[in-house]
Structures are given as C-alpha cells and as structure tokens.
Amino acid sequence: MALGALLAFGVLRMNAPSQTVADAAAPELRYSEANFGTYQALGPEYETARAQLAIGLAERIDRLPPDAQLKIERNLAEIRRALREINVAMALEPDNTMLQQLLLSTYQSELTLLANVNKMAGSIPARTES
C-alpha cells in the first residue's frame, strides 16, 4: 500500500518543475531529478512508459508477498538515492561523460525494475479474499 502511494506520488511529480541539486537531500522515498537528466529531459516516450509502469505497479503491487513488496520499495529507494548521488557529482563535474552514462544507466535500472516487477505482479491473480 505504501509503495503504491509512493509510485503514484512519483508519477505526479514527473510533471513538476525540475529540481535543482540543492534538493538532493530530499526525503528518502521521493523521486529526485538530475540537473542533466530530468525525467522530462529523457523524452516523452520515456515519460509515458515510466508513468504506465508506475501506475500499473501501483495497481498490482498488492498481489506480491509482503516481504517482496518491502524489498521492492527499499530497492526503488536505493536507485533514487543513487540518482541523487550522481546529481551531486554532476554538479561538480557537469561535463563528465562517465557520470552522464551512469545517470542514464541508473534511469534504465529503475525502468527495468518497474517493468520486471510489473510483469511478475501481472502474472499473479488479483487478490480477492474468500
């Protein structure tokens, strides 16, 4: 349930104005955005796919075992912590190609995680208590 709210919140935040690096110390479970790589900057296809995945997962996450839900939540937070760390580094070296690659790769990791978990949760019947 908490993860569902987190995912929905993340989707809503996608349309918010870009944050600056000064926001890097945002609360643990908030989406952060890079000075180089805001979600918007990655293009409309990326935004659409990510929004679909986040909504789909929010709807289906309850089908997964509670321990798996918790681990997914922690690991999404881990990815977002990594994004914040890269943003901080990019503030120091905005032209660093390796940092740009790591940033894009980390966005890709988030999308892959959302896609994989969404697919797994989608294959489990919806919960209807007997």
Binding site: K71, L102, L113, N118
Partner: protein
Amino acid sequence: MKRAFATLLACTLVAATAFAHEDDDDDRDDDRDRNYGERSIDRRLAADANGEVEVSNVAGSVSIEGWNYNEVHVTGNLDSGVKELVFESSGKRTIVKVVTRKGYHRGGGDADLRIRVPKNSRLHANTVSADLTAKGVTGPLDLQSVSGSVSGDFSGGETEAKSVSGDITLRGDGKPGRLILTTVSGTAQVTRAAGEVNASTVSGELQLQMSKVTRARMNTTSGDLNFNASLMPGVKIEAETISGQLTFDLKDTDAEIDIESFSGDIDSCTGPEAKRTQKYGPGTELQFTAGKGTGRIELQSLSGEINICTR
C-alpha cells in the same frame, strides 16, 4: 546521449506496452464454499521432444527434470488452498499451472510439484514464493520467481533467470551460450557458464564464474559484483556500479582495459597504478593493455571500489 538512451530503452518500452494492457487473470468461479482438501497427483501427457513447457506455481516448490521420454509427468501434493492443477497439451505446448483458491496466492495454496519433461524442451517456469529448480533440461530456459529461490543447471543455449528477492544459483556445463540474470535484491551465483552474459541487480550480489567469455555486460546499483573468468580474444566487457564493489579476476586477458571511478578506489594486482583524473578532483582512472589488446574491457563506478587482476 539522449539518442543512445532512446535506443537502449527501446526493448523496455516494447515490454512495457506489451503488458500495460495485460488482462488480469481473475475470471475464476467463486469457489469459496468448496473444500478441495489436500491431495496427491500423478499425471502424464504425451509431449513433443522439442516442444515448449510452461509451468507456473504460487507457493510450495517446483522441481523440474529433463528426461529421455516424450512425455510430461507431474507428481506431487496440493494443499487445500489449491483449486486445481491445469495440465494440458496443445500442439507442441504443454501447460502445468497451479490455480489457487481466491485469496490463497498470498498465503497457503502450496503445491509441491515434481515435473519431468523431454530434455530438449523449451522451458518457461515462474513462481511467486515457491522455490524453483530445473535440472537436466538442455533446451532454452526461462526461470523466474518473485521471492522463491531459483536453482539448477543449464547447457549452453539461451538461459534467463529473474527474481526479485530470491537467490539464483545456476551451474553450466562449460558450453558457450547466452545467459541473462536479473535480480532486485537476490544474490545470483553462477558457475561453469561460458560465452555471453548480461547480469544486473540493484542491491543483490553477482558472483559469476565463467570460461571462454566473448561478451559480458553487468551492472549494479549498490550490489557487489565478483567476476572470475577466462576470456576469448576480441572479448567485450562492460561493467558499472554506483556504490557496489567490482572485483575482476581474469585469465587469458587480451584486451585494452579502461577503468574509471568518480570517487572510488581502483586497484590492479598486475597492471600499473591508477592515477587521478584531475589535480584537485576526486576522480581516478586506470588504462592499460593486456596481451595484444584485441578486446575491450570498460569498468566504471561512482563511489564503488574496483579491483582487477589480469593474467
């Protein structure tokens, strides 16, 4: 950069679209008043020697073995939370699917299955919390579990294993193939694999022991990677982490090596020492050539430590 990323995302976007409209499997009859009871099963169906077998289970265990007969044989026990075992065959496709009573996919509904399939079958198996084992199946393998463990052996060809929190333990037979491993927090441990590997995790650990490696692509967010392998000429290896530790122990290395970290340490037991990328900045890099340099190895980290030994 954006164009390159768009290409990188293409497969994920296709997958996203494919299941964004996936219908829920929620059309079962209301069976709340029925008492199915615990029961054992022993059923067989003829199957194509090179056919496809799909297995799905929620809780309990699944043990799949390849054998020399052209039939699928299912034995095991179903508890009272299991509504039915769907076991059917159509053309080259055989389905073994545990259907739980409503509400039982998150507790109870255990099925412990032993399934024997023609050894050359293409196998797709998925579970929620059930542990999954596959042995002696030489066709392509697609194994996944949410929180159960995934284990077994494989023989070249295509092998894919996925989990959220379950550990993956696989053993190859040294024949070259293509291996794809994905976990969120589970550990993936692979021995005797060869050929190509694509492995990723967020916080889990990747422990890969391979031979005759031609291509490897690995990434972690905070998990550690331990890659112990012998390499083929012309090999291409890419690995990256944000805060995990990358450890490479490579034999028969014939490649240009390019390692860079923003703030992590780089250590090579055989090559030159890493040097700073800027006089006052935190970055370090290490570049050297092992052998004739026909291949390429690129390792990157944000803050994770990178260790490499080449022989």
